[in-house]
Structures are given as C-alpha cells and as structure tokens.
Symmetry: C2
Subunit: 240 residues, 2 copies
DNA sequence: CCAAAAGTGTTAACAGTACACCCATGG
DNA sequence: CCATGGGTGTACTGTTAACACTTTTGG
C-alpha cells in the first residue's frame, strides 16, 4: 500500500511536526446499587485538583509513532478500566461517549480526552471498592454528587453520560448490563427506575417485559428469587 | 484556581512529555440533491492515498500548550468546514460524531481524528462545488460511493455518520437543515426518504407534518411552490 | 381530457396509561 | 390474618400502517 512516493511524503510530513495535544481517556463507570444509579469516582492524589473527586482515566499509550503504533482508543479505555477497577476483561459493557477538547479544560496544558462510559453489574460492583483502597475509589449516587466540586470538566462528561444512557435505555438493551446474570422482573424495573429517576407502573413494565420474552430477548431461568416475600421468577438475557 | 502546589506539579508534568498523537478533525458533509443523499468528497493531492477520494479535514491547531492554548475541537471543525466549502459560518449544522484512533489508520504515524458531520441546505450546496475547484471537491451519492476506494478509514466514518443521521431523523429536527428556508410537505418528505433510503406513505407523512404544525414546530409561510403541477403550500421551521 | 402530484379521510392493529384486582408468602 | 410485593386483567387513549379517494394544476 505504501510506495516510494508515499514514503517521501511521509518523511516530509514527519519533519513538519505540528504541535500535538496530550490524549487521555476518561471513564464514566455506572452501576445500580440499592435501586440507585451510582458512578465511580476517584479522589485525586496529585495536583491539579488535588483531593477533589474525578472520573477515572489516564493517558493513551501512543508509542513512538514508528515501529510501535501504540494501543487503540478502545483498548486504552479497557486497560484503564481494568487498572482502576480490577474487574476481569469482558465483564463490563464499554462504549465511547464523546470527545472533550476545550482549550483550557486542563490547567497543565492542552489535553484532549476521549470519554467512555461503562456499565458494571451490581454483583461485581463491591469487588471494585474492595480491590482499590476505599479512600481512593467510591461509588457515588449520581443524584447526590456535588457536580460543581468535580475536577476538570468532569461534571459535563458525567451529565452527558447520564443523558446518553437515559436515551439509550428506550431502544437498546443496556439495562441487562446493570443486573446480575439472572434477574426478576422487578429487579430489571428497578434499574429502569434508577436510570430514569422516576417510578414506572409495575403492571405496564411487566407487559413490556413479557413482550421481550415473546421476542426471545429474555428467557426464563430455573429457580426463584427468595426475598422474604412471595418468591419471584427469574430470567436471563439471551445474548446474540 | 492554580496555587503554588499546582504550579510545581504542572512543571513536573510538562517535563514528563508522554508521546502524543497527531490530532485531526474529519468532516462528513451531507446534503440532499435530486432526492438523493450526497456526501462531500475531496480528491487528495498528496500522499498517502494520493488521487483517492477522502473526507475533508485537517489538523487541530493546538498552540504551544502554554500561552496559546489553541482552538476548541468544535472551532477546528467549523474552521475546516469554512475552508473546504467556503460557506458562511452559521449556515450549517455541525455535530461531533465519533473519535477514530485505531493504531495504523494513518500510514504517516499515530493520528487520532475527531469526526464531525455537517448538514448543508441544498440551496447552498452548489456554492460549495463552485467555490472550490470542481476537480477537487464533489458531491457524491452516498448510495453509489465506492467505499472500498476511500482513503484511510473514511469508509467507516461515513458509515457511522449515515447510521447516526438515520437514527436521529426520528426524534430530532435534523431534516430542517437539509431543506431551504421554506419548503413544501413533499420536499421535506423527499429528505426523509433520501436519508432512510425507502419510500414513505405521502398521506401518513402528511399527518406527522400536520402534527408538527399544531405543535408550533413548523408554520405556514406565504406563497406557493410552483412546480409545473398543482402548486403546494410552503412552510418554515420555527427555531427556538 | 389525462397524468401527476396535492391533499383528505377511513379503517384495523397495535402500544402506552391508568387502575382494579387476585395470589402467595413471611411474620 | 395482614402487609407486601408478585402477578393478571381490562378499559381507554393515542399512534401507526395501509389504502381508497377527491382536488388542482400543466400540457
């Protein structure tokens, strides 16, 4: 694909050396605990914004730009996720959200960040805060976070991520990444309510749920959920 | 906001100098001509991919990272749009699409690109190809583009942009950025059909159109559209 | 008069909302 | 037996898809 003509042009281009921004990925990691939407926040240990809450994230490994081309953006996000949460590789849904590059968003200089959001099943969430030291990372209620106190423009990133999952909830099966492998009808409803922030008629939700069963999106799983009240049937999401 | 502690940390950080990627913006510029969705393509004059078709785009001006912080990503996209199309500043709808940063996507080295899509009203579209030399920029039918022949990963970017506007068409008023300031019912319908790629029942479309009028989203404009057949009423979009 | 597009109306199917009600269980 | 959440049913309403139909124009 690269001929001699190309090679010359590439050399000329390399010599030019435009100024380049630093490139990071930031992660908005969600889970649902106690029927409440939570986001994972890190308390910063270094300046700037020392001791402030921030989203987890870090620099993209770019390599030397010659033999070593570095890692893909998705890989960088996945790597940061594993580093910051200790969760196994495929256990989490991860999707690019938006890229924030406002001049002045980082006092250290020009830093462009590619934001991702992640969805962690609640049965894995406790492993996160146990794995990292408890002072460092914490699941914070999205509704109660003091957004003005977040580092950098992370309040904007969080707000956009919340908007995104609210919107996607209606047409994409993202709720299944926020419940355990098997779940009852009301557990899935609790996730919808936590994301939307408002109550959902149990009967009507059940109808939509049944339609998903009929469509083969969900299937019943053996066993019952024992809750101290009447036991509920449990289901599982059918991946395709 | 920046104290002495910060300043030290910032100096230390600057000294580190992680390798950085080059950062570009690429534009997927759409219009609708002859009831067909078109995208603006540029014939490349330099290697790599010399003589191949590519999306318009260019480097983000980053500044020196000290006194000069450079331009915002949106501003860079807007600037490239003006440079490549010659259209006035506010005449075009512009929105960030996705960021592509696969290692190896550019043979010159590690180049991360923030892709934007733009919607150009058809009455302005001819100015674009007239302004730039005709060999250089061209409106190409999205349905007939030889995607395998596009430079870099621009086929992926184009595909994602088409998906995006198809999806947004159902819940966002983007079609109004692809018709002249005043338009008839069937002109707006033609835009929907061009984006969706399938016919739309004229009667049912008219019902949805009427609802938008009732909701105050659209209002009737004086005059009629003379077409050689029965004249049609014209409307305008009410910006809020 | 005819072709073609503008514009009106009707119907059946379907999905969402609100609400009433029965069932099973642990305390 | 009773409070609580699991689970069923129903009447009403609004939206959509499909299609038949009338009206107005230029040629």
């Amino acid at each position: 694909m690269i001929d001699a003509d190309d090679a010359d042009a590439i050399d000329a281009w390399r010599a030019q050396q435009y100024p380049r921004p630093a490139l990071t990925v930031d992660l908005v990691v969600f889970t649902v605990l106690d029927a409440d939407l939570k986001v994972l926040l890190i308390r910063r240990g270094e300046a700037p914004f020392r001791h402030a809450w921030a989203l987890p994230g870090g620099f993209v490994r770019v390599g030397d730009g010659l033999a070593d081309e570095g890692e893909d953006l998705d890989a960088a996000a996945q790597r940061e996720l594993v580093e910051e949460t200790g969760l196994p590789h495929g256990a989490v849904y991860l999707e690019q959200l938006y890229t924030f590059g406002r001049a002045g968003r980082d006092p250290r200089g020009r830093v462009v960040t590619v934001a991702y959001y992640a969805l962690v099943r609640p049965d894995l969430a406790p492993l996160v805060t146990a794995g990292t030291d408890a002072e460092h990372a914490e699941w914070c209620s999205v509704a109660h976070v003091d957004r003005a106190a977040l580092a950098f423009d992370h309040a904007d990133i969080l707000a956009l991520a919340v908007d995104r999952i609210r919107g996607k909830l209606d047409y994409a099966p993202i709720a299944f990444d926020l419940v355990p492998a098997t779940f009852s009808v009301s557990e899935l409803r609790a996730v919808h309510e936590a994301i939307k922030g408002e109550a959902d008629d149990p009967s009507n939700f059940r109808r939509r749920f049944r339609r998903m069963v009929e469509d083969g999106l969900i299937e019943q799983a053996p066993g019952k959920r024992i809750t101290g009240r009447r036991p509920a049937a449990v289901y599982r999401f059918v991946r395709r």
